[in-house]
C-alpha cells in the first residue's frame, strides 16, 4: 500500500490540468502523456506499487566524493596487519560494530559511527560488496571519478546511467526518456547520468528548477504566467513540427515537471532526518518518490572524503562523515518504509577510490584503490559479498580489488533495473548477485 497525501488537488488546479491535457493531446510527445496521466490522477496513484513491474523500480546513487577510506569503513579488525599499518588511525576492535561470526564476516566490522547501516544489516536490508575496484587503478580524483561514472577504464564516453536511459527509451516515439527520468541533486548533473541523447534534471533545491526572474519582483508573475499560457495555446495550435513548436512543447514540459517537483519537495517528510546536507538531499528524494514522480534514478552526493591529514579513527573528521552517511541512509530507509515504498527503492554508495593501507605522516591517508560499496534495500541479498582484500598481498602499497565495479553495475542493471546490462556496459561482467531472485 502506498502512502497517499490527502487530496492534493484543488478543483481549480484539476480543471486547469484537464485543459492542459486536452489542448496538448495533438502535438505533445509521448512522455508528456505519461506525465499527464499521473497528473490527472491524485499524486502517486499512477505509480502505486506494482510488484514485478520494473517501471516502478528506483535506483538511488549516493556518491562519496573525495575517495572514502574503505579500510576505516568496513574494518578488518581481526587482522593484526590493519593495526600495524594504521597505528594512529586504526579503530580498536572493541569499538567496531561486528558483523557476526561465520564465513567472511569473521573479523570484519563497521565503523562505530555507522550504527544506521548496522541496523539495516541486522534487518537483512544491507549488502556490503568488499574490495571493489578495477584494473590499473587511476589515483586522480578527476580521472577515477570519470572511470566510475562512465564504467569505462579510460574514463571517456557517456555516463553509464545515461546509456541506460538512452537504451531504455530509444524505441519510444518521443525518441528519448523524459527529463525527470533521472534527477540529480546538486548544481550540475553528474557525468554518470549524461547519455548521448538523454540529459537529466539537476537542481540543488527545487526552487532553482524554475525561472529565477519570478524572484525579481511581484510584477513579473502575471506577465510570466501569460507567457506560459501563450506557450500552451501555441503548442496546441502549431501543426508543423518546427523548432519553435518544439521549444514550446519543451517549455510546457518543463513547467509541468517544475510544478510537480516543487510541490513534492515542499511536503514534510514522514520521519525526522538529521541536519546535514546529505540528509536534506535524501529527504527530498524520499518526498519525490512519495509523490509518485516517474523518476527511475536519483543521484545524491556528499563530499569531504579526501582525508590526507588528521582524519581520526573512531572519532574525528572521517568518523563524522561516516556518521552523516549512516544516519542519513537510516532515516531515508525509515521514510521509505513509512511510505510503503521501500520495496521499490535500491540505494547504492560508491566513491572514486579507497585509500592506501598505511596511514601517512600527517595522520591521514593518501589516494588508494579498492574499497567497499553498500547496497541497501529489503530486496538485496544481505550480508558480505566478496572477500575482504588482503592487507599483505598489496600492489605498491595498495589493496588489490576482488570485484570489478562494473560487475556491481551489471547486477543492478540486470536484476534490478531489468535491462540488458551488456547493452549498457558494452560487454558482460558476470559474477555478482546482489538482488534476491
Amino acid at each position: 500500500m502506498n502512502f497517499l497525501p490527502e487530496n492534493p488537488y484543488t478543483r481549480r488546479a484539476f480543471l486547469h490540468r484537464g485543459l492542459t491535457l486536452a489542448s496538448a493531446s495533438v502535438t505533445i510527445p509521448w512522455f508528456l502523456h505519461a506525465g499527464a496521466a499521473a497528473i490527472a490522477a491524485p499524486d502517486g496513484a499512477a505509480t502505486k506499487s506494482r510488484p514485478g513491474i520494473p517501471d516502478d523500480r528506483i535506483l538511488v546513487v549516493v556518491q562519496l566524493a573525495g575517495g572514502n577510506d574503505g579500510l576505516n569503513t568496513v574494518i578488518p579488525f581481526g587482522d593484526a596487519e590493519y593495526y600495524r599499518a594504521r597505528p594512529g588511525i586504526g579503530v580498536m576492535a572493541n569499538q567496531v560494530l561486528k558483523l557476526g561470526k561465520g564465513q567472511s564476516a569473521d573479523g570484519i566490522g563497521l565503523h562505530p559511527r555507522l550504527t544506521g547501516l548496522k541496523e539495516l544489516y541486522d534487518e537483512g536490508a544491507l549488502a556490503i560488496v568488499q574490495g571493489v575496484g578495477y584494473p590499473n587503478p587511476n589515483r586522480s580524483h578527476f580521472k577515477s571519478m570519470d572511470i566510475w561514472q562512465t564504467a569505462d577504464t579510460g574514463g571517456t564516453g557517456d555516463g553509464w546511467l545515461g546509456r541506460y536511459f538512452d537504451n531504455q527509451c530509444s524505441g519510444e516515439p518521443g525518441g528519448g526518456c523524459p527529463g525527470h527520468a533521472g534527477i540529480a541533486l546538486g548544481r550540475a548533473a553528474p557525468l554518470a547520468m549524461q547519455g548521448h541523447k538523454y540529459k537529466p534534471i539537476a537542481f540543488e533545491t527545487a526552487e532553482l528548477f524554475r525561472w529565477s526572474g519570478l524572484d525579481l519582483d511581484d510584477s513579473m508573475r502575471e506577465p510570466y504566467s501569460q507567457i506560459e499560457r501563450g506557450v500552451e495555446t501555441d503548442s496546441g495550435n502549431t501543426g508543423r513540427d518546427n523548432a519553435a513548436s518544439f521549444l514550446m512543447r519543451t517549455a510546457l514540459d518543463a513547467r509541468i515537471a517544475s510544478e510537480r517537483i516543487r510541490k513534492a519537495v515542499d511536503s514534510t517528510p514522514l520521519v525526522q532526518y538529521p541536519g546535514n546536507p546529505l540528509a536534506r538531499q535524501l529527504a527530498m528524494v524520499a518526498s519525490m518518490i512519495r509523490h509518485g514522480l516517474e523518476t527511475r534514478v536519483y543521484y545524491v552526493s556528499i563530499s569531504g572524503f579526501d582525508t590526507h591529514a588528521g582524519q581520526g579513527g573512531a572519532q574525528g573528521g572521517h568518523a563524522n562523515l561516516l556518521g552523516q552517511v549512516g544516519d542519513s541512509l537510516a532515516a531515508f530507509s525509515k521514510d521509505l518504509k513509512a511510505q510503503g515504498n521501500d520495496g521499490r527503492v535500491l540505494t547504492m554508495t560508491f566513491s572514486e577510490f579507497g585509500r592506501r593501507v598505511a596511514q601517512n605522516g600527517s595522520g591521514g591517508t593518501d589516494h588508494g584503490t579498492a574499497a567497499p560499496m553498500f547496497i541497501m534495500g529489503p530486496m538485496v541479498r544481505p550480508g558480505l559479498t566478496g572477500r575482504h582484500p588482503s592487507l599483505k598481498d598489496l600492489d605498491e602499497g595498495d589493496l588489490k580489488f576482488g570485484t570489478d565495479f562494473r560487475s556491481v553495475y551489471a547486477s543492478i542493471l540486470d536484476d534490478w533495473m531489468k535491462t540488458d546490462a551488456r547493452k549498457v556496459l558494452g560487454r558482460p561482467f558476470p559474477g555478482t548477485k546482489l538482488i534476491k531472485a
Binding site: 548533473a189 532553482l208 526572474g213 514550446m248 517549455a251
Partner: protein, 508 residues
C-alpha cells in the same frame, strides 16, 4: 511568418537584391555570421546592404585583439618529466620507496590541478574574446572548427595544447581547408586526442586516419576500411615532443601504400592531397558549413531535401573552384537569396555559446562573472574545450530539454539583472545594466515614441526576438511597461527579462 513567401522558399544562391535587404535580414546576418548585434548595429548593417556587410564580416575588417592575457598562459605546466626525473621515478618504483612514490604522485597531482586551473582561464579568455571582438565571424568560425575537429581537454589534459589548437582554428578560420587539414595532422592536441603519438610502422594506430576521413573530410561511405589501414601507415611517425609537432622518421612507414585509389610512398601530406581530390570532400565540407550557418538538413526523400542538396552542390563547386578557400564559399552563401529566406530565418536553436555571447553583444548587458557564465554553459551542454566526443556537439534540438531551458532563461535573467537563482551577483549593484541606449534610435527609426509602452514593446520585440511579434506577445510586454508607470532602466530590464524568458528567444 508575416512575410511568408507565397511562392515557397527560395533555394537560389544568387545574391540577394539590395532592395530586399532590410532590418530583419541584417539582424539575421549578424546572428548567423556572428553573435547578434545591438539595434544600432543592425541598422548600420541594413544601411550598408548585403555586399558591404558580408565583406566587412568576412574580411575580418575589424581590428584584431592582442591581449596580454595569452602571454600569461604557461606552456610548461604539463611538461613531460626529463630523463633525470624519469630515472628518479623508476628508481623509487624498483626500491618500492613508498614515501618517494607518494611525493611524486602528489607533485603530479599538483601539476594536473594547476593545469585544470589554466584551462578554466583559457575558457574565460575565449568567452571574453568572443564578447569583445570586432571580428565576430572569425570567432564564430573558430567555434565552427572547434566543433568540427572536436578535441577534448578531458582526454589530453594539456591546457597549452588546447589553447594552441584554438589559435590554429582562429588563424585558419576563413583560410584554406587543405592548409587546415595539413595543420591538424601536426597539431599536438589532435595527435594526443586520437592516439597518433605512438603510431609507428610496426604497429600503426588507425584512430587519426579513420576520423580524418570519417569526421573531418569525407564522411562515412566515401572510403574503405583498407583506406584507413593504409592511411594510418601514411601517418606513422606523426607525433609531438613537448609542445611541438615532431616527425619521427624512424617510426614512419616508407613502404608503398594503396590509398584512395592511388599508390605510392605516401606521407600525411599526400594523404591530405588525396582526400582533397575526392569530390566527396568538398560536398562534406559544404554540408558542414550549410548546417552550421543555415540549417539542419530536411528529412531525406523530401522535395526540400533535394532542393537543399542543390544548394550544397553549388557551394561544393565553389569550394573546389577556389581550391578549398573558405572565404569565397562563405561570401556566396551569406549573400545568397536562400540564406535570407523566411524559412531559414529564426529557424535554428541557438547554441549555448550563441545564446550567451549573443545576449551580451546584442543587448549590451554587462558580462558579469565569466566563471559563472562558463559554468552555466556547462549546464547547458556546451563546455568549450570539452566537447562530448570527437563528433563534436550534436546541436539544434539536442541543446534543449526541461533542465537546460530553465538554465538558459535564468542565464539571461542573470545577465540582464544580476539575479542568480540563489541570490544576486555580489557585484550586481556596481555592474548595473543600462538598457536605455537600446531604445535611443527609436524615433530616428520612425519606430514610434520612446515614451509609448506599446511602441517600446514593439521595438524591443522586433530587435530582441526578431521579426514582428504576434499581438499576444506584444500585449504582454505593453501591459507590463504600462503598469510599471515609466519607461526607464528598471522597467526595460523587467521587460527584457520577460522577453528573453519566451521560448522563442532561443531561436536565431
Amino acid at each position: 511568418m508575416a512575410d511568408q513567401d507565397r511562392a515557397g522558399p527560395t533555394y537560389s544562391l544568387r545574391p540577394i537584391d539590395r532592395k530586399d535587404f532590410g532590418l530583419d535580414h541584417a539582424r539575421h546576418l549578424l546572428w548567423r555570421a556572428g553573435f547578434g548585434g545591438t539595434p544600432s548595429q543592425v541598422r548600420l548593417i541594413a544601411d550598408w546592404g548585403p555586399q558591404k556587410a558580408v565583406d566587412h564580416l568576412l574580411d575580418f575588417q575589424g581590428p584584431a585583439e592582442e591581449t596580454d592575457e595569452t602571454r600569461a598562459f604557461d606552456p610548461s605546466i604539463m611538461q613531460p618529466p626529463s630523463a633525470e626525473q624519469r630515472a628518479v621515478i623508476q628508481n623509487a618504483r624498483r626500491k618500492q620507496n613508498e614515501d618517494e612514490l607518494a611525493r611524486i604522485r602528489l607533485e603530479r597531482q599538483r601539476r594536473e590541478q594547476s593545469d585544470r586551473g589554466q584551462i578554466a582561464h583559457v575558457r574565460r579568455w575565449w568567452l571574453k574574446r568572443m564578447v569583445e571582438t570586432a571580428r565576430p565571424l572569425q570567432e564564430k568560425l573558430t567555434l565552427f572548427w572547434h566543433g568540427h575537429f572536436a578535441t577534448s581537454y578531458r582526454t589530453i589534459e594539456n591546457s597549452w595544447h588546447m589553447f594552441r589548437q584554438n589559435q590554429l582554428f582562429r588563424e585558419h578560420a576563413a583560410g584554406n581547408f587543405g592548409d587546415l587539414l595539413r595543420a591538424i595532422i601536426r597539431d599536438p592536441a589532435m595527435i594526443a586526442y586520437l592516439d597518433n603519438n605512438d603510431s609507428r610502422k610496426e604497429k600503426p594506430n588507425e584512430n587519426l586516419a579513420r576520423e580524418l576521413m570519417e569526421l573531418f573530410s569525407l564522411g562515412v561511405g566515401n572510403y574503405s576500411e583498407d583506406d584507413i589501414k593504409e592511411g594510418a601507415r601514411a601517418l606513422t611517425g606523426y607525433s609531438f615532443q613537448y609542445n611541438d609537432f615532431k616527425f619521427y622518421k624512424d617510426r614512419h612507414d616508407t613502404n608503398n601504400k594503396h590509398l584512395l585509389g592511388a599508390s605510392g610512398n605516401f606521407d600525411g601530406d599526400d594523404f591530405v592531397r588525396l582526400i582533397l581530390a575526392r569530390p566527396a570532400c568538398s560536398k562534406f565540407i559544404a554540408t558542414k558549413l550549410y548546417r552550421f550557418f543555415v540549417s539542419e538538413l530536411p528529412p531525406k526523400g523530401t522535395p526540400e531535401f533535394r532542393a537543399v542538396e542543390g544548394v550544397i552542390a553549388g557551394l561544393a563547386a565553389e569550394l573546389t573552384g577556389a581550391k578549398y578557400e573558405i572565404k569565397p564559399v562563405l561570401r556566396k552563401l551569406l549573400q545568397s537569396d536562400h540564406f535570407y529566406d523566411s524559412s531559414v530565418r529564426l529557424a535554428r536553436i541557438k547554441s549555448p555559446t550563441e545564446l550567451v555571447i549573443g545576449a551580451v553583444r546584442s543587448l549590451n548587458t554587462p558580462v558579469r562573472d565569466l566563471g559563472v557564465v562558463a559554468d552555466a554553459m556547462d549546464l547547458m551542454g556546451q563546455s568549450l574545450f570539452f566537447p562530448p566526443s570527437v563528433k563534436g556537439w550534436d546541436g539544434e534540438r539536442s541543446w534543449i530539454n526541461t533542465s537546460t531551458l530553465f538554465v538558459r532563461q535564468n542565464m539571461l535573467t542573470y545577465l540582464v539583472t544580476g539575479k542568480t537563482p540563489t541570490g544576486y551577483d555580489p557585484l550586481a549593484a556596481d555592474d548595473e545594466y543600462d538598457p536605455m541606449p537600446l531604445i535611443e534610435g527609436m524615433t530616428r527609426d520612425e519606430a514610434g515614441s520612446p515614451t509609448s509602452p506599446r511602441d517600446v514593446a514593439r521595438y524591443l520585440l522586433r530587435y530582441v526576438l526578431g521579426e514582428t511579434a504576434p499581438t499576444p506577445r506584444l500585449n504582454i510586454i505593453t501591459d507590463f511597461l504600462t503598469s510599471s508607470g515609466a519607461i526607464d532602466a528598471q522597467s526595460l530590464r523587467g521587460a527584457l527579462a520577460l522577453i528573453t524568458a519566451m521560448p522563442e528567444y532561443q531561436l536565431c
